[in-house]
């Protein structure tokens, strides 16, 4: 059959048929608002005196990246195992999850990580090396002094610590009962600090008059000798009382085996609770005698509850007038008090309720009224261009700058505040020597976590956290569509009966899966945990994964879905500069 050319040769059809991609259209030109990944500050981290990056720590823990989580903590706090036991968890008070169900068990997670760090031997190494070697003297191996040395060590300084006692730890060693913090944990955390090359010189009491000489030998000095002077009752018969912190120290030195009979503990602070709860364990029947009401006590609520559970009794609105010996007993005469409004400091005031009195027969008497600085170690009080009072420290300029820190300057006396003080000192001293005295305020401002006062070593060193928006994310700014109620996971906790039996640690530690599960409850407020909602919902396929998430501005039309669908407010929209 003959094939006709008209049939065999037909021209190609010109067809409305697309063979090219639309991806040459730069739809980014449509945009008038621009989304950007804008990490913000989680309320927990801003509330943490040590400025820990808690949202990130939870994120890493939730993923099982325990070592990364530990290293994130160790950048900001040398004592996770300790703080994981004794911290008063300001973070949990600020936790946005509390507005939804229960706050994340941040302290429990920290304890888990702290213990794991010790078990695994994880530690930080110095993060930089100063051009000229720097050497600091630290007075006192308590939490503030050790923290100052640690952070200076991270910054490449060498440090020598002068400690009057034969063991490190200060109040952590002598003032916190073993049921809250075991000696072993403390020793191992201190040992990790010393791996930075820090040397502690034990049995070296430093007197104020030694400072001049020390300042000649070192580039800087940190004074963190704590509050050595107990506040007195100033009543007749006060000599019959044992001072609370001394008593706690004696217990920890093994000098007290048992106490019997009724014991009165005068005071309403955390030390009073520690004393009373220790007395329970030693066999006594303690009564806390407090001149205000329970709700006015400076002790943390958690401590009060634990004390009462353990059988500690409480007498409110009574103020000791005198103490008399009566054979083996002590008769305590008490003035009854009544509430009398609120003082200028916001605390409730009390006043004597006429002549109403009581007497209390006890076998032993303890005072726990707090401490003050010895006058010779009080931070300088003058106003001077060469003196900065920065909350957690007071720093005096000089050839070797001098810092007063720890309980000498802290408003709140806690281990975590001591860490904050040590960190502030280290950052201030490093800035002073590297950049100059006048740069300190600005430098600390850069290192601020959220609105402050907590500081971040990571931010100081210009890490990613330095770029984080300082706005603290509120509960209302989260997208709660992505969260469901989840029970807070509790570690094992001894029953009150078990607790009364001895000084072993009350709280257990999370198992790995518990730690991960609890950490996963965290909203990760303000930080990108790579949940990918921004990428998943983008109608333009304009969010790219990699390390972090990147918005392809060539295509992004600025719809803003990524910003709204981010569960944790880690993105923001801004107007496009036209």
């Amino acid at each position: 059959m003959e094939i006709h050319t008209a049939l065999s040769k037909q021209p190609a059809v010109l067809l409305a048929c697309s063979t090219l991609s639309t991806d040459t259209n730069m739809t980014g030109t449509w945009r008038f608002v621009r989304p950007f990944h804008d990490e913000k500050t989680a309320p927990c981290g801003a509330a943490c005196p040590a400025g820990e990056d808690i949202a990130r720590i939870q994120m890493l823990t939730g993923r099982g990246a325990f070592r990364d989580a530990v290293e994130t903590i160790l950048l900001e706090n040398p004592f996770p195992a300790t703080c994981g036991r004794v911290c008063f968890q300001f973070c949990e008070g600020a936790c946005n999850r509390a507005s939804f169900d229960d706050p994340v068990g941040i302290r429990y997670v920290e304890r888990f990580l702290g213990d794991m760090a010790l078990a695994e031997g994880w530690a930080r190494v110095p993060l930089k090396e100063p051009e000229t070697p720097r050497k600091a003297a630290v007075i006192g191996a308590g939490p503030a002094g050790l923290s100052a040395a640690y952070f200076l060590g991270l910054l490449g300084w060498s440090c020598e610590v002068f400690e009057a006692a034969r063991e490190p730890g200060g109040l952590m060693r002598w003032g916190i009962p073993a049921y809250r913090l075991s000696k072993d944990v403390l020793q191992r955390e201190v040992a990790r600090i010393l791996r930075l090359g820090i040397v502690i010189k034990y049995g070296r009491t430093v007197r104020p008059q030694d400072l001049a000489r020390i300042r000649e030998e070192y580039d800087a000095v940190f004074v963190g000798c704590g509050l050595s002077r107990s506040i007195r009752l100033q009543i007749p018969g006060e000599d019959l009382a044992l001072e609370g912190l001394d008593f706690l120290g004696r217990i920890r030195r093994g000098e007290v085996d048992a106490v019997s009979g009724t014991a009165a503990v005068i005071g309403g602070g955390n030390t009073a609770m520690d004393v009373a709860r220790s007395l329970v364990r030693l066999g006594a029947e303690p009564i806390i005698v407090y001149r205000r009401r329970r709700e006015d006590m400076p002790a943390f609520e958690h401590e009060i509850i634990m004390a009462l559970e353990e059988g500690v009794r409480l007498m409110e609105l009574v103020s000791p007038l005198k103490a008399n010996r009566d054979g083996e007993d002590i008769i305590l005469t008490l003035q009854e008090m009544r509430p009398a409004g609120v003082g200028p400091d916001g605390r409730a005031r009390v006043a004597p309720d006429g002549e109403r009195r009581q007497s209390l027969r006890v076998r032993s008497l303890f005072t726990a009224l707090g401490s003050s600085a010895a006058p010779e170690w009080a931070p300088p009080a003058e106003q001077s261009q060469q003196l900065l009072r920065l909350g957690h420290i007071t720093i005096r300029n000089g050839p070797a700058p001098l810092v007063f820190g720890g309980d000498l300057t802290n408003e709140t006396q806690s281990v975590t505040d001591a860490v904050a003080s040590g960190k502030m000192a280290a950052l201030a001293l490093d800035t002073c020597l590297e950049e100059g005295w006048e740069r300190i305020i600005q430098s600390l401002g850069r290192a601020r976590v959220g609105p402050g006062p907590a500081l971040s070593m990571e931010s100081y060193l210009g890490g990613a956290r330095a770029d984080r928006n300082r706005t603290v994310v509120s509960f209302e700014q989260l997208n709660m569509d992505y969260f469901q109620p989840l029970q807070r996971i509790l570690p094992t906790i001894q029953s009150p009966e078990e607790r009364r039996a001895g000084f072993s640690e009350i709280e257990g530690v999370y198992k790995k899966e518990e730690a991960r599960a609890e950490a996963t409850r965290c909203f990760n407020c303000g930080i990108c945990n790579e949940c990918d909602n921004c990428r998943i919902f983008c109608p333009e396929v304009a969010v790219e994964a990699g390390s972090g998430r990147r918005i392809l501005l060539d295509y992004c039309k600025g719809c803003g879905i990524c910003v709204v669908e981010c569960p944790r407010n880690a993105l923001s929209l801004e107007e496009e500069a036209s």
Partner: protein, 301 residues
């Protein structure tokens, strides 16, 4: 929070011309992630007819056949028959139509295809009006809506057609509602539909339209979620027209869904109550058909 699990594969190309925040684009993106590359898409006149790209461009990485407005069901049937004859029976043929092309002009063709039990997946992405032509009402437009053909006091006073019941009445093998706010649920349903070879399948996808609804573009997904959480658009599945499974149960009043939207802004509290009653009535009817309790909508995310 457990991160959403969505396949990485991408068949939507960048640079398409959908409005900023277009819910229908998100819907297509998820749909193709679920269906994969062995898919042919038939698109009648609708927004996607534009979004798919102007000659010589295409915004999808799978073949597209643009089709006349009323013909999605029939055109897809023809494609199906041809692929079967060519020995390509495994290729998924997806008709992808808007609510106008499904509820109105394309209903006859859809009905025919479903009655014939064509081996196609018919998807209606529902933005509740003729958006492509400038927001005219369709039979999918809900009670209370202002559109350009139900303007001002002439807002729509008839109810949205229940397309799912229409399909269930065909005894279609599988029909399900899906929402862009619940990508995992949506992808599961697309895969289930894909794998139910040999039968007609229908998916009714809620695709919010910021342009037509008078809402800021960033609320696209949020609104879709609110539609589910208020029972305005419940997520459920129907097998063989009789076996109902409810996937969600709302936990919010309709006001939460209506109030952010410009198209409902004129409604009085009494009007909103009327709508609440209608939604409650529909929900009761649906509940009565389903066995077993639904999950809370919030947990689906």
């Amino acid at each position: 929070m457990r991160p959403l699990q969505v396949p990485e594969e991408e068949y939507l190309r960048r640079g398409h011309v959908g409005c900023a925040g277009c819910g229908a684009v998100i819907a297509m993106r998820f749909a193709l992630k679920a269906l994969g590359p062995d898919t042919v898409v038939v698109i009648p006149a609708c927004c996607w007819g534009v979004i798919a790209g102007a000659y010589p461009q295409s915004s999808l990485d799978v073949p597209i056949l643009h089709a006349a407005f009323a013909t999605a069901g029939a055109t897809a049937s023809g494609v199906r028959a041809a692929l079967d004859m060519r020995g390509e029976p495994d290729t998924t043929v997806m008709a992808w139509a808007g609510d106008g092309g499904t509820f109105d002009i394309g209903l006859q063709s859809l009905s025919g295809a479903v009655e014939r039990d064509e081996d196609i997946l018919y998807v209606c992405y529902d933005n509740e009006a003729y958006m492509n032509t400038g927001v005219q009402r369709s039979s999918s437009t809900p009670y209370g809506t202002r559109t350009t053909t139900t303007p001002r006091e002439g807002w729509k006073r008839t109810r949205k057609k229940n397309i799912m019941e229409t399909l269930a009445a065909h005894r279609i093998a599988y029909a399900a509602t899906a929402s862009i706010a619940y990508p995992e649920d949506m992808i599961r349903k697309f895969r289930k539909a894909r794998d139910l070879k040999g039968h007609a399948r229908f998916l009714h996808v809620f695709a919010s339209c910021p342009t037509g609804w008078g809402v800021p573009s960033e609320l696209t997904v949020k609104l879709a979620r609110l539609a589910v959480r208020t029972n305005v658009f419940p997520l459920y599945e129907v097998e063989n027209g009789v076996s109902y499974t409810l996937n969600t149960e709302g936990d919010l009043p309709v006001r939460a869904y209506l109030s952010p939207q410009g198209r409902f802004r004129h409604l009085s509290p009494e009007d909103i109550q009327d709508i609440q009653r209608m939604v409650d009535e529909d929900w009761r009817l649906l509940r009565a058909k389903a066995q077993g309790p639904p999950q809370r909508a919030r947990l689906m995310a």
